[in-house]
């Protein structure tokens, strides 16, 4: 069905636009940018900021272009004196209550409020600052901080948390001058349903929501003589890091990334894709074993820590469905301080493991109490590691890494590509696609097929599980078994799939769930903006990288094969279980209350 076209006028010029478009969208299509602070395409229709106002012929007041639909014959004026004055007034009102110490703010130069003030030529605000009720900075979460002083109450965060993630950890509380974004009883994020995904901070126009920084501890480790600092970079980093340095979104920069990490001073530059491949072997075998032994199905992936916390909070009864595999990040941490330490003959207490992750929840994951298998390993060998030893010591986001690269004085754009170090730098295309929604599923199917039939899939590109559809499903015939699988990304979609599992009506054997829309490439630690368009471009980069790899199946990774030969023996072995697998526990909804 073709969409109906409407004849409209914008600033005197006639355009044909599609019915259903908002005034803002129609103006955008006509090449007229309308500034806004609270609008979020497809997510938020709060229309609270009052910046996107325009004149409509015949209307008594200005109207909010983001939520006003166009109609036949509508006459829109986007640049009248009234419009400009109203926008100025509203920005000045926001600035009156907003701190102006931009230099001290992590969002400096990336702040939408700052940019908009500049774009609209607002240089000062004549209005005095008015003391609102003071709330302390909420630093309770291991991943995020919330600073009420910087909040302009656009409520994008609230909408994303609710509409995209169905977590509803935050809501507007109180009214009038006391209105503020709050967690349940204002007990702080860590005592809420928050899963640390960080989608809120990707959309925050100011610095009110920020990721916790760990760059300090990373520099300290690098600077410490005698410390062996290894870094692992997640698959999604290479597809997005370029955006921080002026590259178009969707430019894979694997070699440049490795080079930059090496120049920064890390002793070994490794790739989380190595343990992604390992995860596939373990998880693939777990799936086969559950199918053969009539274990709990569907099996659900466990590499996304936001999703894990979501499951522990909202679906505790279904925790047996989760794969017991640790995430690639945690497998890496464990192996770096055990197998690698032994192989290279390095004192494990001298090893610092740094992760570069596209994710804020990874910071939380690394701090989970059970994530200290290396210490356990050495204790069993009669060696005590220093108290507080974690498998992964520091987790930095893509944005933090970019900050560190800039601080190092490295001209990222001019670097010549280098390779990751052996042995943990060797990976396959299957590890690469972990970064995109559907990637873990595709990688698992490539290996499961080979495992069960003895030969590789004819076409390694399983397009059925790719794409941006909220929930995608596919069936693969393997030796007479029709393996039914589903992929969900964004927790609202995950919830839908889980409700089905909960009712016992899930037809699937295997489900991949990623916390963030688009998968890891859309994680809360990635560069901003992370629009749908940008996410799609990053996904493209991931798949093109996969196609360029000589090996594209995890079980063909020679370093993984060596790891089994030398250390783990076989998938799901006793060593594997103690090193690479974990367990989950129910989480009370309001742990602090």
């Amino acid at each position: 069905m073709t969409q109906k076209q409407l004849r409209i006028k914008i600033n005197g010029d006639t355009y044909l636009m599609y019915e259903g478009q908002s005034v803002l969208e129609a103006c955008r299509s006509a090449g007229i940018n309308i500034p806004n602070l609270c609008y979020l395409e497809g997510v938020s229709r709060r229309a609270s900021c009052g910046i996107c106002v325009v004149e409509i012929e015949g209307a008594r007041t200005l109207v909010r272009s983001c939520v006003t639909p166009i109609r036949e014959g509508i006459e829109i004026f986007t640049n009248t004196g009234r419009v400009r004055k109203a926008r100025h007034t509203n920005i000045k009102l926001l600035l009156a209550n907003h701190p102006r110490n931009c230099l001290e703010c992590d969002k400096n130069r990336q702040c939408e409020l700052q940019k908009l003030s500049d774009d609209l030529d607002v240089r000062d605000t004549s209005y005095p600052k008015i003391r609102k009720k003071h709330y302390d900075i909420d630093a309770s979460s291991p991943s995020l901080t919330r600073d009420h002083e910087k909040c302009i109450l656009c409520a994008r965060c609230v909408e994303v948390c609710s509409q995209v993630q169905s977590v509803d950890a935050i809501e507007i509380a109180e009214r009038g001058m006391e209105a503020h974004v709050s967690t349940f009883f204002n007990k702080g994020l860590d005592a809420s349903e928050c899963v640390n995904c960080g989608q809120c901070l990707l959309v925050c126009p100011t610095g009110a929501l920020m990721a916790k920084h760990e760059t300090g501890s990373v520099w300290k480790a690098i600077d410490e003589p005698g410390r062996h600092v290894v870094v692992q970079a997640a698959p999604a980093i290479r597809a997005a890091i370029g955006e921080e340095f002026g590259f178009e979104a969707g430019m894979p920069l694997t070699g440049t990334l490795a080079a930059a990490l090496r120049k920064m001073g890390f002793d070994r530059v490794f790739d989380t894709q190595f343990t992604a491949d390992l995860t596939i072997i373990e998880e693939g075998n777990e799936l086969i074993s559950r199918i053969k032994n009539k274990g709990v199905l569907p099996l659900i992936t466990s590499c996304s820590p936001g999703w894990i916390r979501f499951a522990e909070t909202f679906f505790p009864k279904l925790l047996p469905n989760l794969s017991t595999c640790k995430s690639p990040q945690q497998m890496f941490g464990t192996l770096a301080k055990t197998y690698y330490a032994e192989k290279m003959n390095i004192d494990p207490s001298k090893i610092t493991v740094v992760s570069v992750m596209p994710c804020t929840a990874k910071k939380f994951e690394a701090r989970r109490p059970e994530m200290n298998s290396a210490a356990e390993y050495w204790r069993n060998k009669g060696r005590r590691l220093p108290g507080g030893t974690r498998d992964v010591d520091s987790v930095i986001t893509t944005r933090e890494l970019a900050d560190m690269i800039r601080e190092s004085g490295i001209d990222f754009a001019r670097l010549t590509g280098e390779k990751f170090d052996e042995p943990f730098g060797i990976s396959t295309g299957a590890g690469t696609i972990f970064g995109a929604t559907g990637g873990v599923m595709e990688a698992a199917l490539r290996t499961a097929y080979a495992e069960l039939t003895g030969k590789s899939l004819k076409d390694l590109n399983l397009k059925a599980v790719r794409g941006m559809g909220g929930v995608r499903e596919a069936s693969v015939d393997i030796n007479g078994l029709t393996l039914k699988v589903a992929v969900a990304h964004g927790l609202k979609n995950a919830r839908e799939v889980m409700e089905q599992v909960s009712k016992g009506k899930s037809p699937y054997h295997f489900i991949e769930i990623m916390t963030c829309p688009g998968g890891c490439i859309g994680g809360g630690g990635q560069p901003v903006p992370a629009t749908t368009d940008v996410r799609e471009k990053r996904i493209k980069a991931v798949y093109s990288e996969d196609e360029s790899m000589p090996l594209r199946e995890s079980h063909k990774n020679p370093a993984v094969i060596a790891l089994y030969d030398e250390f783990l023996k076989e998938p799901l072995s006793g060593v594997s279980h103690s090193m690479l697998h974990t367990e989950y526990s129910r989480r009370d909804l309001y742990p602090g209350i």
């Binding site: 229709r45 709060r46 229309a47 609270s48 900021c49 009052g50 910046i51 106002v53 008594r60 007041t61 200005l62 909010r64 939520v67 006003t68 639909p69 009234r82 004055k85 109203a86 007034t89 509203n90 009102l93 926001l94 009156a96 209550n97 004549s126 209005y127 005095p128 008015i130 302009i152 109450l153 409520a155 809501e171 507007i172 109180e174 009214r175 009038g176 001058m177 006391e178 209105a179």
Partner: protein
């Protein structure tokens, strides 16, 4: 005018204009109403010229027509009894004394638009009306069930937010959400409660609708002016020497006539329409008509005599709005804060008196860029009081 003359005139007026509080037996009203076709009822309301009595004055028949024409499996009628405008207390009295005329109004509206469910959204502070009103509603539901009508009314209690008197915020609250105004369009007549066509009416509008259906449009139309037909219940407070505060008056009188009836003459200003209304100074009393062609009002009329400080009056209103803004949109949330802070700063000398001009501009921007009626009208008292009583704000 001496007080006995005034009393006589008020009594005369009462005799002539007495629709709402008239004691009457309406036993056969429901039968008569139910016999009437929805088209007839709509026509009668149209003919009467009835406009919404909450203050905005939208033609009642038009609202009904829109909702009637909207296609949906369910529709709703809501009686807005959230009466939160400072200085307004008529709906309380109507619900106490004449609930028997409110409920049939809801039925009539439901018949016209095709609704089977009605809600009374009762102001939280009026919880004490609940026992009697619930009884009344129960009896009414029973009665119309016996007559084979598929319509019932339910009472829901508000939680004390002023903004929930705004119809879309009211609907949000009714749905169990935070009371915040919605984006318009869509208007409630097409997408209201639970996304279904919904008509929201002030208590008083519904009573007049009952009366118009029962007694014919003429009784209403014969009163008032062409723009402001009929009568209206006024809530008179402030510097009046009369004990009683609720009067049903013909629309279209000037403020001068009004003040002469209800005060001893020493009145310097009247705040028409509550905190969100306009302040009319004495010099404008004679040529200001109370009605949609002049100053509209939801009923609140607050009289101020020469002993009153208009700074205090304005300060009071702004404090009210600073607290009662829902906090959603920038112009209202921060604008109200700034207006309040601004007059304090001018009064204390912290800001020069010219700063009032900046604030008037700000108030003007609030009027055109706030999201809902509340935010837009929060600027009204500021603009009118600063315009007419600038010296009192400054010194």
């Amino acid at each position: 005018m001496d007080s006995s003359t005034r009393e006589r005139r008020i009594a005369e007026h009462k005799k002539r204009v007495n629709l709402i509080f008239k004691k009457c037996v309406w036993d056969d009203f429901l039968d008569r109403a139910l016999e009437m076709s929805p088209e007839d009822m709509l026509e009668k309301v149209k003919e009467s010229g009835l406009r919404g009595r909450g203050g905005a004055g939208f033609p009642t028949w038009l609202k009904w027509k829109f909702a009637r024409e909207a296609e949906a499996d369910e529709k709703y009628v809501i009686c807005n009894a959230d009466e939160g405008e400072p200085g307004t207390f008529k709906d309380r009295a109507i619900l106490q004394e004449q609930a028997g005329k409110v409920l049939p109004g809801m039925l009539v509206c439901a018949k016209v638009i095709g609704a089977e469910k009605g809600f009374i959204y009762l102001r939280g502070e009026y919880a004490y009306l609940l026992p009697a009103l619930s009884q009344e509603v129960e009896n009414f539901n029973e009665k119309i069930r016996e007559k084979g009508e598929r319509f019932s009314i339910e009472i829901k209690l508000g939680s004390g937010a002023y903004v929930c008197g705004e119809e879309t915020a009211l609907i949000e609250s009714l749905e169990g959400n935070r009371g915040e105004p919605r984006n318009k369009p869509p208007f409630p007549v097409s997408e209201g409660y639970l996304g279904k066509p919904t008509v929201v009416h002030n208590v008083e509008t519904l009573v007049y609708a009952s009366i118009i259906i029962s007694e014919g449009p003429e009784c209403f139309k014969s009163l008032g002016t062409s723009d402001s037909a009929g009568a209206k219940v006024f809530c008179i407070s402030g510097d009046t020497d009369l004990d009683e505060g609720i009067y049903e008056l013909e629309m279209g009188m000037t403020i001068k006539e009004f003040v002469e009836l209800f005060s001893d003459g020493d009145i310097k200003a009247v705040q028409v329409g509550g905190a969100s209304g306009h302040c009319v100074p004495r010099k404008k009393f004679a040529d200001t008509i109370i009605g949609f062609e002049g100053v509209p009002t939801g009923g609140s009329m607050v009289l101020f005599n020469s002993s009153r400080s208009m700074y205090n009056v304005l300060h009071n209103y702004l404090e009210f709005f600073e607290e009662e803004s829902c906090g959603q949109c920038t112009p209202c949330r921060i604008g109200c804060q700034q207006l309040l802070k601004g007059i304090e700063a001018v009064k204390s000398g912290e800001k020069p008196s010219e700063y009032l001009d900046d604030l008037v501009k700000l108030a003007g921007m609030m009027k055109i860029s706030a999201k809902c009626g509340l935010g837009q009208s929060a600027a009204n008292p500021f603009i009118s009081i600063v315009e007419h009583f600038r010296e009192e704000i400054m010194y």
